[in-house]
């Protein structure tokens, strides 16, 4: 009994706890170095150096930034609504990190859940992702409203309108891989890609590709990044919803934005790019890409990480290239183009699927 | 392009027709004509004659030497006021406005029309609609403290796009007498008229928004007047009424004998009265 209890405790409490810690640490590190990479890559794109003073090649810059932000005065404006003002940044970061619980970073292990490369596998994983992701908008809206600043207010309103609009095509585009896999479990979806022998981005060509494209565009809009960074457009709304924030609370908003980028990229990798699978999992002669010499699961994790980083690079690349949309044009794009296209993809995939049965 | 090469000035070879970008032609041609033989009244005639001859020869030599010089090597000769030649524009304005056009002169080749204050708006409208001066380039004020009549002058620069011609209108006014606004003719006159008001205190009648533009509301004084102290005035009383109260605080213009003008009474609709 005690042994059984000990093992249960070990498998369902201690190990997940350690995994959560590990996931958060890894993701926060990735976030820290994404900011660094962003500045370096933008520097490269913009014929300048980027940070190069703190540590070798500026590698310690993120740490210096964190120290600086922690040391800053935490200002709460005079007539702000304090509870909402304090709560808002947490509402941005919390859900973004929460989604990590169901992301499969690597393959499940035959030895049991304790040694598989994800925190948990929920059979409604995809629903959970969509549900939690939509909470994030409250943070921006509350932050903008509570700051008692008209620019923040407009930023918050823009954020709300933009994120709600883009959740619709995003949700539709998620239905396509769901139809292909026939399961809501994220692990199940990746395994379906393995058994069907192709990444879902290539499934039901071109509808998988279309769905992927819609998902990613909506994702960029969801995470308020260029060219959809209207809620925080510094040249229009000063800094939008986080104008009044300073110190660590500002850092939390910042963190939330990057965590959102990572989550959206991770979901895209899982659903469309085969998660932990190597490219072309159906081709035998490419099996050397499985990197069998590594400990089990690590190769999968590396593949996942590589795909994730490619996404993050694309995010940064966008920022270096595109101007910003106007608000009504953004709405136009979302409602008049992405939603019909997503509907088309869903309907076509369904018909195709039924025809195959 | 290659033909233009010949125009390039060569050393030692005077080129009289060298394009002189700055000075108008008539001023340059007058330059050598300065030395005039001043044969004094009654003196020994022969002596005078030889002297005059020598002077004339010398003057001639000087003039020749002067003529050989490049325009930029001569002494600069400032332009002078001249009566405007009667061209179509001046004649048309004079015939349609009569007394409205007080004077038409040129300076440095620029036509300057002095316009009666009452008729400036009509003159402006006529110039814009009949004579093609569609661009109101600028409006500015000038303060002439020495003039008893009309110490303030409002200067309008107009430009005709088709004839590429500039003219200048001048309107004299004095403290407390409004100038008719030309915003109804050129919308662009709005801000510059406000600026003239701000800087000189010249108000414009029927201006849609006769408020200060560069200085802040409540500033006590008009900075570009000649009697406004350069070091500025402390307008603390005007800025911080809650701190200084109504009576306390520094007074504008103290030390120069200058007092802020009485604000003119509101004169709705009625035309500006003639100066007494």
């Amino acid at each position: 009994m005690v042994e059984f209890f000990g093992e249960t405790l070990y498998v369902y409490a201690v190990v997940p706890f350690l995994k959560i810690i590990a996931a958060i640490v890894v993701v926060l590190t990735i976030i820290a170095y994404t900011t660094f990479a962003e500045r370096k890559i933008l520097g490269f794109l913009q014929v300048r150096m980027g940070p190069n003073r703190v540590g070798p090649w500026g590698l310690l810059q993120p740490i210096a930034d964190v120290v600086k932000l922690l040391g800053k005065e935490d200002v709460i404006p005079n007539r702000a609504v304090v509870w909402a003002y304090v709560l808002a940044p947490c509402l941005v970061v919390g859900p973004a990190l929460l989604i990590l619980s169901v992301i499969p970073f690597g393959p499940p292990s035959s030895a049991g859940p304790a040694s598989s490369w994800f925190i948990t596998d929920v059979n409604v994983g995809l629903l959970l992702v969509v549900a939690i992701a939509s909470i994030g908008v409250y943070g921006l809206l509350l932050g903008g409203w509570a700051s008692n600043n008209k620019f923040s207010m407009m930023g918050g309103l823009r954020a709300a309108a933009q994120m709600i609009s883009y959740e619709v095509p995003q949700g539709f585009s998620l239905v396509v891989p769901l139809l292909m896999a026939g399961t809501l479990s994220l692990v199940g979806i990746v395994e379906a890609q393995l058994t069907q022998g192709r990444w879902f981005i290539f499934g039901f060509f071109p509808f998988g590709l279309l769905a992927f494209f819609i998902y990613f565009v909506s994702g960029v809009a969801e995470s308020n990044r260029n060219p959809f960074d209207l809620p925080e457009a510094e040249s229009e709304l000063v800094a939008g919803f986080h104008t009044e924030y300073s110190g660590m609370r500002f850092a939390l908003f910042f963190l939330g934005e990057y965590a959102n980028m990572i989550v959206i990229s991770a979901v895209a990798v899982t659903l469309f790019l085969g998660g932990w699978l190597r490219p072309f999992p159906n081709l035998e002669w490419l099996s050397f890409l499985d990197l069998g010499f590594l400990p089990p699961g690590l190769a999968g994790f590396l593949w996942f990480l590589i795909k994730l980083l490619v996404f993050l690079f694309v995010y940064i690349w966008f920022r270096g290239t595109f101007p910003r949309y106007r608000f009504d044009q953004l709405m136009d794009l979302g409602w008049k183009w992405l939603i019909p296209a997503a509907l088309l993809a869903v309907v076509a995939t369904s018909i195709w699927k039924v025809a195959l049965l | 392009m290659s033909e233009r090469q010949d125009d390039k000035p060569q050393e030692g070879r005077p080129t009289g027709d060298q394009p002189a970008p700055e000075a108008p032609d008539e001023t340059r041609s007058e330059a050598p004509a300065t030395p005039d033989s001043d044969s004094s009244a009654a003196a020994a005639e022969a002596e005078a004659e030889t002297k005059a001859k020598a002077a004339a020869a010398k003057a001639k030599a000087v003039a020749e030497a002067e003529a050989r010089k490049e325009p930029w090597e001569r002494d600069p000769a400032a332009p002078e006021w001249q009566e405007a030649e009667s061209d179509g524009l001046v004649d048309a304005l004079k015939s349609s406005f009569g007394e409205g056009v007080l004077a038409a002169r040129t300076f440095a080749g620029e036509l300057v029309l002095e316009i009666d204050r009452q008729s400036i708006r009509e003159v402006g409208r006529s110039l814009k609609e009949e004579h093609g001066f569609t661009l109101l380039v600028d409006i500015c004020g000038v303060h002439y403290p020495d003039r008893d009549q009309a110490p303030f002058e409002v200067v309008y620069h107009l430009y005709n796009l088709d004839q590429t011609r500039r003219i200048r209108l001048k309107v004299g006014t004095q403290e407390g007498i409004d100038v008719p606004s030309v915003v109804a003719v050129w919308k662009g006159a709005n801000w510059p008229e406000r600026e003239v008001y701000d800087m000189y205190g010249v108000r414009f009648a029927e201006h849609p928004d006769m408020t200060r533009i560069l200085m802040w509301e409540g500033f006590n004084g008009h900075p570009l007047r000649k009697d406004f102290p350069v070091e500025g005035i402390d307008t603390g009383a005007a800025i911080y009424p809650e701190f200084y109260g109504d009576e306390a605080g520094p007074v504008a213009g103290t030390g120069t004998g200058w007092k802020p003008p009485e604000p003119p009474e509101d004169k709705p609709e009625e035309p500006v009265p003639d100066e007494a």
Partner: protein, 379 residues
């Protein structure tokens, strides 16, 4: 393009419509200085716009009256502080006209050269800020790379990079340094490629076009009525360029075109300025080619005294439009009155006409396209 119909502001809606007043500036990243706009917005739509200026008023015109003609040149640098050479040129041109001084040709060529380089640098700065306002960050750094070279050339010539003070009434203070002509030729030789690079980032960019095409319409009549000059007027289909209309310095010897576009929107004003940079390159190349030997200073008295009575107006084509100086002399070495006609003052006056009915994001694009420098507006 979205139709903006201001009549539907009073439409009956399910919800109450409440207008919000926003103070846009004077400290705002997109106002290029200290422009303040009192905005009335209905959601994102601008219902009313009232510009408030004067935050940078330094009394320059008062200062002009206190200093002799020579000492006023540095004050002109501070008007449009990103295009000091053309300010200097307008001022010294007016003084020379007032005193009847004729400038030697070499000095005149150098002035033409400097003012065209100044046009390039000013347009580069405009492009950088305009693009970053619309959200494209990268062109900013590309243009600053080239602007740096222009500023280096200025620094070599007169020791200053921004407030140049590089002209004197009567001619030029210094000759071109050794090797300057070659370095300048090298720069302008490679510059058209760089313009292609900026255009590659922006001209056919869909988002850029969406943000600029049809935005901030300024009809030709409106532009003339408000005395708008420079690239803004030429983007509205009126080809007024002081360099062609009333040539000063050596512009009548130069072979160049005045770009005119007819769609009256932000995009066309962008195209005008891009093309102007190419034309400036042509002018600089011709200047370098034709540059004659000779004196730099005209013969002039040590103390310049204006005639007892007389006033002149002299205008040049600054990067932002017509900048002119109106100088009244009174027989003393100081001007009795010296008025600078700043193009930005008139170009920003028309702003409400261009933005009312549009969105806040359009306002940003339009402020960028006016290329306003508040130092010139407020003087």
């Amino acid at each position: 393009m979205v139709e903006v119909d201001s009549s539907d502001l009073s439409r009956d809606t399910l919800f109450g419509v409440e207008e919000m007043e926003i103070n846009f500036g004077p400290q705002h990243p997109a106002t290029h200085g200290v422009l303040r706009l009192k905005l009335k917005v209905d959601g994102e739509r601008i219902v009313d716009c009232y510009p408030v200026i004067g935050y940078l008023h330094r009394g320059t015109e008062k200062l002009f009256e206190l200093h002799p003609f020579f000492q006023n040149v540095p004050h002109t640098d501070r008007l449009d502080y990103v295009a000091a050479a053309t300010n200097n040129l307008a001022y010294v041109g007016a003084v020379e006209k007032l005193l009847g001084i004729v400038v030697p040709p070499r000095a005149s060529y150098i002035r033409t050269l400097l003012s065209e380089l100044q046009r390039i640098s000013s347009h580069l700065l405009w492009l950088a800020t305009h693009a970053i306002d619309i959200g494209a960050m990268t062109p900013f750094f590309y243009t600053f790379r080239e602007r740096e070279v222009v500023l280096d050339l200025f620094e070599e010539y007169c020791g200053a990079r921004l407030t140049l003070n590089c002209m004197r009434p009567g001619g030029q203070p210094y000759d071109l340094p050794v090797g300057w002509v070659e370095r300048c030729a090298e720069f302008v030789g490679g510059f058209p490629e760089k313009i292609d690079e900026y255009e590659g980032l922006l001209t056919e960019n869909r988002i850029w076009k969406k943000r600029t095409v049809g935005i901030g319409i300024l009809s030709p009549e409106m532009a003339l009525d408000y005395a708008v000059t420079g690239p803004m007027l030429r983007g509205s289909g009126i080809g007024l360029d002081v360099r062609k209309a009333m040539p000063y310095e050596m512009y009548d010897q130069m072979d160049f075109d005045v770009p005119v576009f007819y769609n009256c929107d932000t995009y066309d004003r962008y195209l005008v300025r891009m093309e102007e940079m190419r034309q400036s390159v042509r002018i600089v190349q011709q200047c370098l080619e034709k540059l004659p030997e000779g004196p730099l200073m005209a013969k002039r008295p040590r103390v310049l005294k204006a005639p007892k009575e007389g006033d002149v107006y002299h205008a040049v084509e600054a990067p932002k439009g017509e900048i002119g100086f109106y100088i009244v002399g009174d027989g003393t070495p100081n001007p009795h009155r010296c008025r600078g006609r700043p193009p930005s003052f008139y170009n920003i006056q028309v702003l409400p006409e261009m933005v009312v009915g549009g969105r806040i994001a359009d306002l940003i694009a339009v402020i960028g396209t006016t290329d306003v420098v508040l130092g010139a507006v407020d003087r």
